[in-house]
Symmetry: D2
Subunit: 347 residues, 4 copies
């Protein structure tokens, strides 16, 4: 079978997520990057802005352009949006109308309910008419829908690290809807390439700190997906922490187990759910996740322990926030959308 390569464009390429998408797309065997936009860098080549790609022929040939939806819609068949929320929805509208398929990495199309979106993001969802078409881009859960999606809303980094360990157990009713508590640790790229004093080296190095307490925006999509899986409303506790590493997320999740349950039952649900997933690694007995084993990859490492003293299950996961938590997962969706091998460009 000789599948034709896909012409793709990337809008908003200058942040960490955009740069990682450039890396993945330049190395992708079936993607032709035809345009990358950045207001800030327009006119300069990708190689000039990202010295990591200085050797790459394509990166030397391709210049950042201003984002012109019409032009992009003519040149590309799938367009990745790595834009701030709000802006992303605005940009997606004409593209979807023009029939181009969109992989959006912002939060704009993750939350199905525009009212919930507004509650968490503080402004109206700009393109609510597109919500019905958008698919939540978690391949392990929505693989089939992603294949045919016109608009994929890539999950947030924390949600990816929390939903993948929880969803199989929630669906099987092994985990109750109450008393779900999550503590996450994130590397500093999680904040994006924001030029703010809080993210200066000397403010983050030798520092650890909770933030976004108690109502981080990612709760909107986490609770949405958990509730869908449970068939009833799930409200969780979630506290992210900033840690001085470049990349990585650890999520440690506490759940009440519905009744006296053996770890073998949990393992079996995971094995059934994820045994053949290419990017989910179930850590065996005695193993705990460590971000250094996943950084730079699209894997999620998942471990679980039952605490007999408290009757609780402890789920732990590790991902690279920029890869499985953003750009890698976007590529995984892209592969599905175009019928390429799901792991193409990701191993």
């Amino acid at each position: 079978m000789t599948t034709k390569n896909a012409k793709v464009a990337l809008v908003g390429a200058s942040g960490y997520v955009g740069e990682e998408l450039v890396r993945l797309l330049l190395g992708h065997p079936h993607a032709d990057l035809v345009a990358a936009t950045s207001r800030q860098f327009a006119g300069q080549t990708l190689a000039e802005i990202f010295p990591r790609f200085a050797h790459d022929e394509k990166a030397n040939g391709l210049k950042f352009s201003d984002a012109d939806p019409k032009q992009l819609a003519r040149d590309a068949e799938i367009i990745f949006l790595a834009l701030p929320h709000g802006l992303a929805a605005e940009f997606a509208k004409p593209l979807v109308q023009a029939g181009v398929r969109v992989v959006d990495l912002s939060a704009d199309f993750r939350v199905n309910d525009a009212a919930v979106y507004k509650e968490f993001y503080g402004h109206d969802q700009v393109a609510p008419e597109l919500l019905a078409e958008s698919v939540y881009g978690l391949p392990e859960i929505y693989r089939d829908k992603i294949r045919d999606a016109k608009l994929v809303a890539c999950p947030g980094c924390y949600p990816t690290s929390i939903l993948l360990p929880m969803l199989p157990l929630v669906r099987e009713k092994l985990v109750g809807p109450k008393n779900v508590l999550v503590t996450s640790l994130s590397g500093v790229t999680g904040a994006g390439r924001k030029v703010e004093a809080d993210y200066l080296f000397a403010e983050c190095n030798e520092s650890m700190r909770p933030y976004g307490v108690p109502k981080h925006r990612h709760l909107a999509e986490i609770e949405q997906e958990l509730s869908i899986a449970a068939g009833k409303k799930i409200t969780i506790q979630f506290t992210p922490h900033l840690v001085p590493v470049n990349r990585g997320i650890i999520s440690t999740i506490y759940v009440d187990v519905t009744n006296k349950i053996h770890i073998a039952a949990i393992d079996s649900v995971f094995e059934n759910g994820y045994g053949s997933e290419p990017f989910v690694r179930l850590l065996g007995k005695g193993r705990l996740p460590d971000t250094k084993n996943v950084v730079g990859t699209n894997f999620i490492d998942i471990a679980c322990k039952i605490d007999n003293r408290t009757g609780r299950l402890i789920l732990m996961s590790a991902i690279d926030n920029i890869v499985k938590g953003a750009s890698g997962q976007a590529i995984q969706c892209f592969n599905l959308m175009r019928g390429f091998p799901e792991t193409a460009g990701l191993l």
Copy 2:
């Protein structure tokens, strides 16, 4: 009032806790360090082993010696033990018998119940007859007992960061005995100066990982002290994480609040309990703890938030694991024991 200086000795001075005790004792206005022992470094001066103190006259004059309890008991009136558990109790016995006061930084005398000690530490408590005399060295809670104690068991680093935020609320019954969950993040010195592959730079840097799941040893003393304060048995969930910083602990604690409670009530309990404590800083509205504000100091920073969505209280604290979590707290106890100003040598 002219108080005479105290002659003190330090047994097991070569780890991070020992080195920090050296630093604090060299700078203490009322302590005369008369001996420091270390099998490994016997015969070398403190200045030779710890280049940070290369300028210090006392550090140049004092050589590490082998630990001879009889000699130490003759030379010093208060002796700090910075030894591994098991060894510490063995060493404390002859000292206490000889009438010397002991400040022990190991876990040996923290757990009142020898059976619980054995459950968590895997071997018998070596000197159970001393348990009745030992005082848990948390000055904010046991100040008066510490003053007269013959044997002070300095709390562990995690317990310090967890108990100080919780105890006032538990005592006032504002916090129920159920559903207490704690996630802690610790810098790598928390593991001591252990020469093991797991703590090599390249294994810890750019890494985050949970460990000790689900039954970390510190649970023994945490639950003991919570249970004493509550007047009934409290079992908690606790997950520590290793984070690539040298020093610092963040503890994020989730508790159910017994009934609909306003944050003002919590604040008021903290204000009553800690308003005049020299080393407890209650962070005001909107402030969250950050280890970089406490590293190198004996302070604990405490913040709390009520999450109205979940009806839970979130307590957050930051300490330096080596100072307030070990050596600084030991000095604070020492000051109490000898009637020196509690902050002497610590500000």
Copy 3:
């Protein structure tokens, strides 16, 4: 002798150097901080802006104010300027005229020759009439002049780390004027609290890079002081590198030795020059400097080795760029100016 405390003010308190001056002044036994200025933070207390000092009574009582030279001149007898170059000289003028003594931490008064200043800083020296009065604030070299100075120009961080090892050897003609090469490594606070993308955590962490090649501004003062000591013009090679630590400088200096010389002669010059200096630590045989031994202190650690293969002397030094390289040295000068013990507030 009961010396009256000195009333001091700090202008431009919001950067890393300013914050460290606040720390040192709050803890200084003979300094009363009567004013701290910051346009950005005017109206807020020092404790609010710097959570490290949240417990400090003075930090809670003192609010940042706008900088009003007249008012400051009335209230303080010595004023520290932690301002950008250019601005500092402008601010110093009215203060010096009003008879207040000034300790300036910018580069404005370090370079005696206004033409050289312009060559390296790209603009005119704003107050050239003050150059004649200004003293280069390296206490080990200009101690007596500093005592009586109206205006002290505190040395730059790199210059401090380079001049202290070199000057005694240059003065004794043991080191030739040619072929001096210096490579320095600096922590990121060396760039100040500049909110620029280059200094974001993820741009500095896991990164090492040379910068300012080949003509870093600090060359102006380094060559000036070397030339004064040598009695003839010395031009050197100097390359700084940015390294992912918060604080610290390592300077590795290569010099031709004028003739076949034994290390003992070098050691003896150092011993004579620095044997009784309170903040210079000459590392003994086999010891090499490590920034972790000086960070947070006002010490400079100096080591030297002769390479018989090449006939060169290698000098190595370590300082804390913010303490001995800036704020600590400023306090050392202040102590001299007011006749306080030179180490007051610094040990």
Copy 4:
């Protein structure tokens, strides 16, 4: 052309260099890893020991074995040795005798002169009879010899970073043989996975330090290769520094230029020498190397500046010490030896 895959084995797979070779070989399109040896891990699979490869089928199927030269010689046609010096030569002997081609990553066969080897390594070269056959594995310099080599001695990490910028200029006599000085900065993996106190996280983090002054072992091979290129003996000054990053080397090299030379001449030599090299990136005007642009890759980034004030040329380079400085370069040699595309498995 259908080249058959190469059967390869890896001896001493448990260090950082070995682990990286595993990574590169598992992903190599033309290499079949048939054996990996490690005394410490014998009997366990690669996937068990290296959790990064937990998903990899081959890593799950292959167990570490004890190193049996005879068996290895039967099973593999090219064998990588990632052993300590001394041990490597001993191991290479029977392999070379058995007709297997060897890529050695130790220092044993880098130094042509056994007396020089002994001077720098403190013990006799164990297999001096093989020195005549060994080729120094710097593809940019010895490409043709490597193709036919029976025994390749992969260059050290520092030598790679120093020789590549210097050799073209030395060969063209643009750089004099005198006054070559190099300062290098290395990440901590450069020390290997040595379980020693000096390399514990808290000893390296927030630390910068020179070491190996003045006669680091790598001088032997650096001076050998420079001297060969110059046609006369070159002695250089070299000081390595340890910096708290996992990976990366920056080398800053000062050379006297033989006569008044324009940067264009230097650029032209580099362009001629390296313009078509797949792994050498010549940084353009105004660009300086940064390790973060090369970490994880086999590239070397090279920049140069002329300092008109001093008449010196400053060469700067950045590599990943484990990739271009060790395992990646070994794979590059391997590709040459077997006639695979030189970049196979490396881009």
